[in-house]
């Protein structure tokens, strides 16, 4: 199979205006992925599916990722004059990054026996509306998994035929897999609490009399 850079170049040539980038994975598995903008995601995905050299006809997995607002710290080498001598000093540069949600698709080719190609869509922010393009019209296998991502992360899929909650009930308002979700406080009875549960159970402990 082509490298991700080659796929990216061909996709950009085929789909004018598509903004693609390769997200590097530095871990030993080196599973790099292709980040596509939401507007052109559908057309790019169609290209990946129908291109005779790729033929990624099978979407095995759809998942969501939540990135909170974060402060990234980076070590930068800066030249500074210290005591009259110019030196290279390491400085920690801090940048703020707004949070976002991601939807990740793992694509394989059954007919050409290769894969996976990992496709990502990223929302601009975490607040509503967080919309990405639904790829269910291209791969039916994405239908329930996109519903699950909607249910647990609150990502809206444009073009999904039946976007309802799938695991939680319909009147449920929260998105439980988001990192800022707090589960309901029903820690009133914990026989053997420990760690985080201990902290939560402490709020329910009977008030102890303060001895004078």
């Amino acid at each position: 199979m082509e490298t991700l850079e080659q796929i990216k170049a061909r996709a950009e040539a085929t789909v004018p205006g598509a903004q693609l980038s390769v997200v590097k994975n530095d871990s030993p598995c080196a599973q790099h992925s292709l980040l596509v903008d939401v507007e052109h995601a559908y057309v790019v995905a169609q290209f990946l599916r129908d291109d005779p050299q790729l033929r990624l006809d099978y979407c095995s997995n759809v998942t969501g990722v939540d990135f909170l607002d974060a402060e990234l710290s980076e070590k930068v080498k800066v030249k500074k004059v210290v005591d009259g001598v110019e030196k290279e000093v390491e400085e920690v540069k801090k940048t703020k990054r707004a949070g976002y949600l991601e939807v990740v698709y793992h694509l394989y080719s059954m007919s050409l026996k290769h894969g996976p190609v990992i496709l990502r869509q990223r929302t601009p922010g975490r607040a509503d509306p967080v919309k990405v393009a639904s790829l269910t019209p291209l791969w039916r296998s994405a239908e329930f998994q996109e519903r699950e991502v909607f249910d647990l992360y609150g990502v809206l899929f444009d073009g999904h035929p039946d976007l309802r909650r799938i695991l939680m009930w319909d009147g449920f308002k929260d998105y439980p897999m988001r990192k800022d979700y707090r589960e309901p406080d029903d820690y009133e009875y914990e026989p053997t609490p420990h760690d985080e549960v201990l902290e939560k159970a402490k709020a329910h402990l009977p008030k102890q009399e303060v001895k004078a």
Binding site: L167, M168, W169, D170, G171, F172, K173, D174, P176, Y181, E183, P184, D186, E188, Y189, E190, P191, E196, V197, A201, H204, L205, P206
Partner: protein, 202 residues
């Protein structure tokens, strides 16, 4: 009648029993469970009913597919918050006298999913549970032990008096409120008439 006289009579071929004993003897040996499983504990429940462990030795081999014909609900598995109203509704549809065995860590407390967002921390928050079995999952022997514990409990139930069995006391409820789906959790989160958290003093 004291036990000695009864013993003497039985040697002469005269069997004397109290109505209460006869009634409970019949009931405890024909407890029909509801065929109802929620997760992996149900596999152990099925194993218990099959030839190797043979729950039919205790008169409980007839798993009924309808709550209207069942005496015992074995809550075998994880009760999710989405499933909890249906479990309570099934229990309400069973005719009295009815009993509940909460089988496994999930059914008694939430088990390994206790800190999650969608698992009920024990079915005893909504319906009265007669026997709790710990284990993940409990072995069929543990279910049989729970079953024998339930049989002893049925055997000890009174037909008359203020502490008579629930199904003979019209003042005690036989149906319990079904929780509703709320915006963040089930409403209410527990039935205070059935379950109150034990006071943990530290």
């Amino acid at each position: 009648m004291d036990d000695g006289l009864r013993n003497e009579l039985s040697k002469q071929g005269v069997v004397v029993v109290k109505l209460e004993e006869l009634y409970n003897w019949g009931r405890k040996n024909s407890v029909w469970p509801l065929s109802f499983g929620l997760a992996c504990c149900a596999i152990e429940m099925m194993a218990a009913s099959m030839a190797r462990y043979d729950l039919s030795r205790f008169g409980a081999e007839v798993f009924r597919p309808s709550p209207r014909q069942a005496d015992l609900m074995i809550v075998a598995g994880t009760v999710t918050k989405k499933m909890a109203p249906q479990v309570v509704r099934l229990y309400n549809q069973m005719p009295e006298p009815k009993y509940v065995i909460a089988m496994g860590a999930c059914a008694i407390s939430g088990g390994p999913f206790k800190q999650g967002y969608n698992v009920l921390k024990g079915i005893d928050r909504y319906i009265p549970v007669d026997v709790h079995i710990p284990g993940c999952p409990p072995r069929p022997e543990a279910l049989i032990h729970a079953f024998m514990t339930l049989q002893r409990k049925i055997d000890a139930q009174k037909l008359t008096g203020p502490d008579r069995a629930r199904h003979l006391n019209a003042e005690l409820p036989s149906e319990f409120p079904v929780p509703l789906f709320g915006e963040h959790d089930l409403v209410p989160t527990k039935n205070p008439n059935v379950w109150e958290p034990a006071v943990v003093v530290r």
